[in-house]
């Protein structure tokens, strides 16, 4: 139960951030960092209970009518993610406090950050599918807010919208997938899916579920060809990049795949599609990363590559591959979060993130240099860092003599080699060489800027050195949750002479070689890409531009802004609908007999016809409006004579008010005094009007000629007095029997009134402008 309450803690912090912002400007980040710190300790304390492949689901009813519960699933996988989210979150909040020091936007920034933290934590812990989806969408929305944080910059807004569109579409696909799983298998939560015999593999709609879920996971985790939004998201302030776009949010897709691996994995499509897309993403990411000169962009592309590697390993599905994926995921969060913060620190203190401008920073920032180097070594997979454990384990897992394993192993080696080189480009290169003339004189920043990355870097060594404890508490439970059975993880930091070790040596050699040749390679990749000239990023722009253009065209086609066209369309449609359906269903009414009317009834009919004639013949608009009113009054009198006083009353009032309002409006609108239509136009309009009249008349005749079903009116007559205590059936229907309709109607009346008021107001300033311009305001 406390675990359920813990989900609310980051949201509480999000509410508090703007409120406390006024009182504790300097201490805000430090005070608020206590919230994620508490969560971190809480999840850490829960971890020992979930050794091996133990898991526990806690649920309370949420939407019982829909079968949705508010539930968490605790096991090695979800707890490890929760620990990463809250632990790195704590450090990021501290880092953000220093990074945006003195910035008035800090409370807002922290509010968004905590919103995201709550969403991400809910995502990884959620058991119920619907709940998971809600948190999934919340991460997309909070990520949109954070990427577009510097909203006055065009590029920032574009990146935010791009991320939202791509991940939002993926979210819709995921929702469809989840609903399909719910209806096809009957399981509404992750733990229920796990409990199914043979998981989801036997479902007839397995393939559809697979594609839909993949649509969500691949967009969120930036797999090729959806990888383009992630580097663009680097428009966000660096703490966001470090937190969302390397350590946590982008791993949501990998989390989902890992979570579903026991239920959906081990099929041919799973073991083909995931490794292929993963490997392509890995290579695309690293090669595109080589081209970048901005520290953050280099890191962003290596993040894309790392996500590809994780998807590839998860898809490969052997015990070793899964253990490798789990180790790499943790290692990646540690070193990439650290390197991003280092890049932010360099940007903050040296005033540039461009590789070509930065050099010799080791003199001014020795501590940052040490941290960066530790992170880069872990990224490169050198012993005794946790990155080494991950790489050894993944090579063990991928080893095999079938061609499939060899291809993937080759991809992993090339990818890892490139990543090692990129790690050193960020973690080593800016610090070497002679001291540069930086935009700012580089010096060590305040402790909040380097404490966070330092802790992450030390964790990277710690996990490698104390690998027994690390495996026992984290790797084994997490890998077991992913595999669906207990997976032993024993890899240690001492190199043994084995195939995997030779492959590691090969990787390192490859990486060092690429590092030394980086400038030549960069130019080469640049040339190749310029020659190619087209990528998904450009494609995204074209799709969006195409959509906008199409929307414009369609809108202008239907909304020409000309009232006469609107009227013509509406009345043509009306006449067509009635006349076509009457003749199509052969329900054209028979002509009624000549009515036997009294003299006063004839008189009223005559008044109506004369009123109508006047409307048509009138040259003056006011005359036409008043004549229209006369005609309406005539109809009202008819109602009265036929014994419908309520209807008649309302008709009288409506006619009166429409004459008044029409007259007021008409006199104010600048219209030509006379009818501007030519005779043929008048003839066409008259024809349309005539058809409408014939149509409505025929419809009324047809209705009165069909036998009257009196059940409803008998019901009202019978119960109006006894149940609703009213003799006026019309009113009883309005306020009682069909009260909900009336409630909706009066709401519409009021909203329409507000809209009319708005329309009247729009023109007023223009009149005043004209008045002030011409200078006479009498």
């Amino acid at each position: 139960m406390i675990a359920l309450a813990a989900l609310a803690v980051p949201f509480l912090a999000a509410i508090l951030a703007p409120l406390l912002g006024r009182f504790l400007s300097r201490w805000l980040a430090i005070v608020l960092a206590l919230f994620p710190l508490l969560l971190f300790l809480f999840w850490l304390r829960l971890l020992p209970h979930f050794f091996g492949d133990r898991s526990e689901a806690i649920a309370v009813p949420w939407i019982p009518s829909f079968g949705a519960e508010f539930s968490v699933l605790l096991d090695g996988l979800s707890l490890t993610f929760a620990i990463l989210v809250s632990g790195i979150g704590t450090l990021i909040v501290l880092f953000a406090g220093a990074y945006l020091k003195g910035d008035a936007r800090l409370p807002r920034f922290l509010c968004y950050l905590f919103l995201f933290m709550g969403a991400m934590q809910g995502l990884v812990l959620a058991d119920d599918l619907i709940m998971l989806f809600v948190f999934w969408e919340l991460t997309s929305i909070s990520s949109f807010l954070l990427i577009g944080f510097e909203r006055e910059r065009m590029s920032s807004r574009r990146a935010a919208i791009q991320a939202l569109v791509v991940t939002g579409m993926g979210g819709l696909s995921l929702l469809a997938g989840f609903l399909l799983i719910r209806y096809a298998s009957g399981a509404s939560s992750m733990s229920e899916i796990m409990a199914l015999e043979n998981g989801l593999r036997d479902l007839p709609v397995y393939l559809a579920c697979f594609i839909l879920v993949l649509g969500g996971a691949f967009t969120k985790s930036a797999q090729f060809p959806f990888h383009f939004w992630l580097p663009n998201a680097m428009e966000a302030p660096t703490p966001v990049s470090a937190y969302l776009h390397s350590a946590t949010m982008v791993k949501a897709g990998v989390y989902l795949l890992m979570r579903l691996q026991p239920a959906m994995g081990d099929t041919v499509v799973w073991e083909t599609v995931l490794p292929v897309f993963g490997a392509v993403t890995l290579l695309t990411g690293t090669i595109l990363g080589l081209r970048q000169t901005d520290l953050k962009l280099v890191l962003a592309y290596t993040t894309v590559a790392s996500l590809g590697l994780l998807v590839m390993l998860t898809g490969f599905g052997t015990e070793g591959a899964i253990a490798g994926a789990v180790l790499y995921l943790i290692a990646h969060s540690l070193f990439k979060g650290g390197l991003f913060m280092v890049a932010g620190g360099i940007d903050h203190e040296a005033g540039s993130r461009d590789l070509r401008q930065l050099s010799g920073l080791r003199h001014g920032m020795p501590l940052t240099f040490a941290i960066a180097l530790l992170c880069a070594l872990s990224m490169g997979g050198l012993p005794p860092f946790v990155g080494f454990l991950a790489k050894e384990e993944m090579y063990y897992g991928l080893l095999g003599d079938d061609p499939w394993s060899i291809v993937l192993l080759a991809a992993a080696i090339v990818g890892n080699g490139l990543m090692l080189a990129l790690g050193f480009i960020v973690g080593l290169r800016p610090f070497l060489g002679k001291e540069m003339k930086a935009p700012k004189h580089a010096h060590e920043g305040p402790p909040d800027l380097w404490v966070g990355p330092a802790i992450l870097a030390l964790c990277g060594i710690g996990a490698g050195l104390f690998y027994h404890v690390f495996h026992e508490t984290i790797s084994i439970p997490m890998a077991s949750a992913v595999a669906g059975e207990v997976v032993p993880v024993e890899i240690g930091p001492i190199p043994h002479l084995s195939t995997a070790f030779y492959l590691t040596v090969l990787t390192i050699a490859l990486g060092v070689g690429i590092y030394l040749l980086q400038d030549r390679l960069r130019a080469g990749v640049d040339r190749a890409l310029v020659a190619f000239g087209w990528g998904p990023d450009r494609g995204f722009d074209q799709v969006i531009a195409g959509l906008t253009t199409a929307a414009h065209r369609i809108t202008y086609f239907f909304q020409s802004g000309r009232l006469d066209l609107y009227m013509t369309t509406v009345f043509c449609a009306l006449a067509f609908t009635i006349l076509f359906s009457l003749s199509f269903f052969s329900e054209v009414p028979a002509l009624p007999e000549w009515p036997d009317l009294a003299i006063h009834e004839w008189t009223i009919l005559l008044i109506i016809v004369v009123g109508m004639g006047t409307v048509i013949m009138a040259h003056n608009r006011l005359t036409a409006i008043v004549s229209l009113g006369i005609q309406g009054f005539g109809v009202a009198v008819l109602f009265m004579l036929e014994g419908a006083p309520d209807l008649s009353f309302t008709q009288f009032m409506v006619e009166t008010l429409s004459v008044v309002i029409l007259a007021l409006v008409m006199t104010r609108i600048p219209l030509a005094k006379t009818d501007h239509r030519s005779d043929p136009e008048k003839l066409i309009d008259g024809g349309i009007a005539g058809l409408c009249g014939i149509g409505i008349g025929a419809l009324l005749l047809a209705v009165t000629q069909t036998p009257f079903d009196s059940r409803l009116s008998e019901f009202y007559e019978q119960y109006s007095r006894t149940i609703a205590h009213g003799r006026n059936i019309v009113n009883v229907i309005i306020v009682d029997f069909r009260g909900l309709d009336t409630l909706g109607e009066i709401a519409v009346v009021m909203i329409a009134g507000l809209a009319v008021l708005g329309l009247i107001r729009i023109r007023r300033p223009r009149i005043e402008d004209i008045a002030t311009e011409t200078g006479d305001r009498s």
């Binding site: 007021l664 205590h725 009213g726 009682d736 009336t742 409630l743 009021m750 009134g753």
Partner: protein
């Protein structure tokens, strides 16, 4: 339009129309009438007053912006519907009670309050449109 006769008669006419509209509203449950038609009559009363004496006296006599009145009407109608929830009945179920006051017995019901809500929405919306248009004419 603003003849002396019209301006002299208009306030009385308006007052009469308003009283008549309330009469129509209250008798609606058993005789022809009701909130909608009552609201229309009251709105016409305001329109007459506005045409005769200008918009500002109407706004002054209404005290609130007509849209506020309409909003209050919608609120009352919703509350009248919600009242039945406390009686463990569905939304908008009619509740009836009889009050004895000065020897008279008066039937009170949630549909009555609902109808008052309808009256206020119609009165408020149409008055505010009418007054806004009349205001333009003055300019």
């Amino acid at each position: 339009m603003r003849t002396v006769i019209f301006r002299t008669v208009a306030p009385f006419l308006t007052a009469l129309m308003i009283i008549f509209s309330i009469f129509i509203l209250l008798r609606g449950h058993n005789e022809p009438g009701g909130g909608f038609i009552g609201g229309l009559i009251a709105a016409s009363a305001n329109a007459v007053y506005g045409i005769a004496c200008g918009v500002s006296p109407v706004r002054r006599s209404l005290r609130f912006h007509p849209m506020t009145i309409a909003g209050a009407g919608l609120f009352i109608a919703t509350l009248a519907g919600l009242a039945s929830i406390f009686a463990k009945a569905g939304f908008l179920t009619g509740l009836w009670t009889t009050v004895h006051l000065f020897g008279q017995s008066i039937d009170l019901s949630t549909p009555l309050f609902f109808d008052i809500g309808v009256y206020l929405v119609v009165l408020g919306t149409f008055s505010s449109i009418g007054l806004a248009l009349e205001e333009r004419e003055v300019e």
